[in-house]
């Protein structure tokens, strides 16, 4: 009888390799901006593009690399709503609650997402598939209420569309 092979080992190795590759990319980003002034926000944009969020380790590397105090890097990372210092779900669903969307029922849409995902706003689902956030206007007010999932945008979202939107990203799970 052959030993049961679960394949975990391979997966762990792959994850480690992925992680290492991300740090190589980070080093390239830092090199690109080194020695220039006013580049912190653009560098963090790119770093988050690689990691999906800004782990402490990444903030430290950016601070060292760009010769900016860590406190300032952290200050910037926490000031802007684009940057995340806690891990995110694979997809971020944002329901717009800007005034134009609000008057067209954005709040009810948000509540529906909360119900369907069983998580509160600013929370992440247990399986880390989704993070639920709000937007304060994405400049598509003519199509209110607006929901974005990553780069995808859904307009005029009605309550019964909510499960459909979620299903698109779970592959029917």
């Amino acid at each position: 009888m052959s030993a049961h092979q679960c394949g975990c080992e391979g997966q762990v190795k792959q994850a480690q390799a992925d992680e290492a590759e991300k740090y190589v990319k980070l080093a390239q980003i830092i090199d690109e901006y080194k020695g220039q002034r006013g580049v912190l926000i653009q560098a963090l944009h790119k770093a988050q593009g690689v990691f999906g969020w800004l782990p402490e380790e990444v903030q430290i590397k950016v601070a060292d690399g760009l010769d900016i105090p860590l406190a300032e890097v952290h200050g910037v990372a926490t000031f802007y709503s684009f940057f995340h210092i806690i891990p995110r779900g694979e997809h971020t669903i944002r329901v717009c609650l800007g005034t134009a969307c609000y008057v067209r029922g954005g709040k009810q849409v948000l509540e529906q997402f909360e119900k369907e995902l069983k998580t509160k706003v600013r929370g992440t689902t247990e399986d880390r598939t989704f993070s639920l956030e709000i937007n304060r206007c994405v400049g598509a007010c003519g199509l209110a209420p607006v929901v974005t999932v990553g780069a995808d945008i859904y307009r005029r979202v009605k309550l019964d569309k909510v499960p459909e939107i979620i299903a698109k990203y779970t592959g029917g799970k």
């Binding site: 912190l40 609000y102 008057v103 007010c141 307009r155």
Partner: protein, 539 residues
């Protein structure tokens, strides 16, 4: 180069993308190929055509027929009927209000006067050649080779153009101050941080005609003696970033940016900076902080940017729409521009009616137009057909205006338009609930530096929230008014200063609605759920 007999402009604006224009576009290209028309028909991408409502949208030139709500399955029919047989597919033709050269079927559109939006939906925003073919960069040549910087500034002063970002400061004077200030590394900043709910005009300009803004920024740089221009675009505007980056690269390749532009000895470069999601960064001093790589916190003024801005150097900062007027002013002269509009408000203004209106969208009209014309004729009145209740002019930071102001005119001396958002509410909407939402926006977006704004917006939010839950007390109303004026007087920047405006103005208009929430624990529209069961008085 093939000579095309038809051009098809497919809108790839943000909202059309969401509606699936990418698949429609690929299907179109494939079908054109399949029919062997690729040397006769050219497909180009354009930015938002202002009718996203009906997306995906495309316009077929030279006929100028607009097709809307397209599906991939409609494409073979359009290619077969329209492109091969020359017959319009009438079931797909758009008959609502349309931008561009297309004949307006919607009478309201005729009230438009397009100067800034002239190219939108007409040219391919990713093609510098097309911009040039439509007269682009000619004005830049004129300014750089035939005018002194002082003459450019004088022309802008004559036009009496005022800032379109909300504060309405005279642009010519701002440029003059910057030109006269001492500094060897001046900058021009284009403020494209458009973040206030209800505003989406700057996005339309950057997506649909990025070269116009680039050209204006170069002219501004020449006029004030700047070396660098910065385009600060909000992070959510992916397509604006993409189009402007391409525009800048193409302009560079043609020598319209860089060293010795038009042999005038003028060197100038433009950089794009992506914001990271903070509304306060639209405020000019916070924007400069952000450009310098820090938290976007507003600074005390003075000093003002024209004397001490980016990196401590004199800096012009202008809104996208303000700048987009510049090439037209230089081309036609300040006198021409000053002939449009009213006594004190010159030129056109772009409005973005949204909320409960029939045709939300972006409309450019001369100053002096009445609110009635914009809301009823251009935007088609309320979507539900129910009576109009109120409108937030400029967005959450603006005044709440009711039906009694319908015949007021949009002008700085009458009804100030703010940045142009018109968030319309019909009679079903609860004012208290909406104002509570506006306050939530300010709580979230306050940079937190000054206590009146940080704590005041929070208290105002909590108080209005309690009203929507039937937990208010009569004394609250006086407290809210005190907070409103307190914030107006003591906040460092505009965000805190105007946070109470929507409340104060709507309270004047709808005192009974407030009283019934606060004292009677009842919401007349039934929108608010009163947690104490509601109806304090009758129960």
């Amino acid at each position: 180069m093939p000579l095309y007999r038809s051009h098809i402009l497919v809108c790839t604006g943000t909202t059309c993308v969401l509606k699936g224009c990418t698949a429609v576009q690929s299907a179109l290209i494939a079908e054109i190929k399949r029919r062997g028309l690729e040397n006769e028909v050219k497909v180009v991408e354009t930015g938002c055509l202002g009718i996203s409502e009906k997306g995906p949208v495309m316009i077929v030139y030279p006929e100028g027929v607009t097709y809307c709500q397209l599906k991939v399955s409609d494409i073979p029919e359009i290619v077969e009927e329209h492109l091969l047989k020359g017959r319009t597919v009438s079931r797909l033709v758009y008959t609502g209000p349309v931008t561009g050269e297309v004949k307006p079927a919607h009478p309201g559109r005729q009230k438009e006067q397009r100067i800034v939006l002239k190219n939108i939906g007409i040219i391919d925003p990713t093609s510098i050649e097309e911009y040039i073919a439509y007269g682009g960069y000619e004005v830049l040549g004129k300014a750089l080779t035939q005018m002194t910087p002082e003459q450019v500034v004088a022309e802008v002063k004559t036009s009496q153009l005022r800032g379109r970002g909300g504060a309405a400061f005279p642009t010519g004077i701002k440029w003059e101050l910057t030109a006269q200030a001492k500094g060897d590394n001046k900058s021009v900043i284009c403020n494209a941080d458009e973040g206030e709910p209800g505003n989406f005009k700057d996005r339309l300009i950057l997506e649909g005609d990025p070269h116009c803004v680039v050209e204006a920024m170069i002219i501004a740089g020449y006029a004030v003696g700047a070396k660098t221009g910065y385009l600060y675009i909000r992070g959510e505007y992916h397509q604006s970033v993409a189009h402007t980056e391409k525009a800048i690269a193409d302009a560079k390749a043609m020598g319209l940016l860089g060293k010795d532009i038009f042999g005038s000895g003028f060197d100038y470069d433009i950089k794009v900076f992506k914001g990271a999601g903070a509304y306060v960064c639209g405020e000019e001093t916070a924007l400069i902080e952000s450009l310098e790589g820090r938290r976007g916190e507003s600074m005390v003024k003075p000093p003002f940017p024209p004397t001490q801005g980016l990196w401590g150097q004199p800096t012009v900062i202008n809104n996208v729409e303000t700048l987009a007027n510049i090439p037209h002013i230089i081309l036609n002269g300040g006198e021409w521009y000053a002939g449009i509009g009213t006594e004190k408000s010159k030129g056109t203004k772009i409005f973005s009616p949204c909320g409960d209106v029939f045709y939300p969208g972006v409309y450019e009209v001369p100053f002096g137009i009445t609110m009635r014309e914009v809301i009823y004729e251009l935007a088609g009145g309320t979507k539900s057909g129910k009576p109009f209740k109120a409108v937030l002019v400029g967005g959450p930071s603006g005044a709440c205006v009711g039906a009694e102001s319908m015949d007021k005119t949009f002008a700085y001396e009458d009804l100030a338009p703010g940045a142009g958002a018109l968030i319309v509410m019909d009679e079903d909407k609860c004012i208290v609930d909406t104002v509570n939402n506006c306050l939530k926006f300010f709580v979230h977006e306050s940079c937190g530096q000054c206590i009146p704004c940080r704590e005041g917006t929070k208290r105002m939010y909590e108080m209005t929230k309690s009203w929507t839950e039937g937990q208010g007390e009569e004394a609250d109303l006086a407290l809210m008014q005190a907070l409103t004026s307190n914030l107006a007087l003591t906040s460092r920047c505009g965000l805190g200063q105007v946070a109470g405006t929507a409340f104060a103005t709507s309270y004047k208009l709808f005192p009974d609605e407030y009283l019934s929430h606060v004292v009677g624990a009842e919401c007349p529209t039934g929108k608010c759920t009163m947690t104490n069961g509601g109806g304090k008085n009758n129960g």
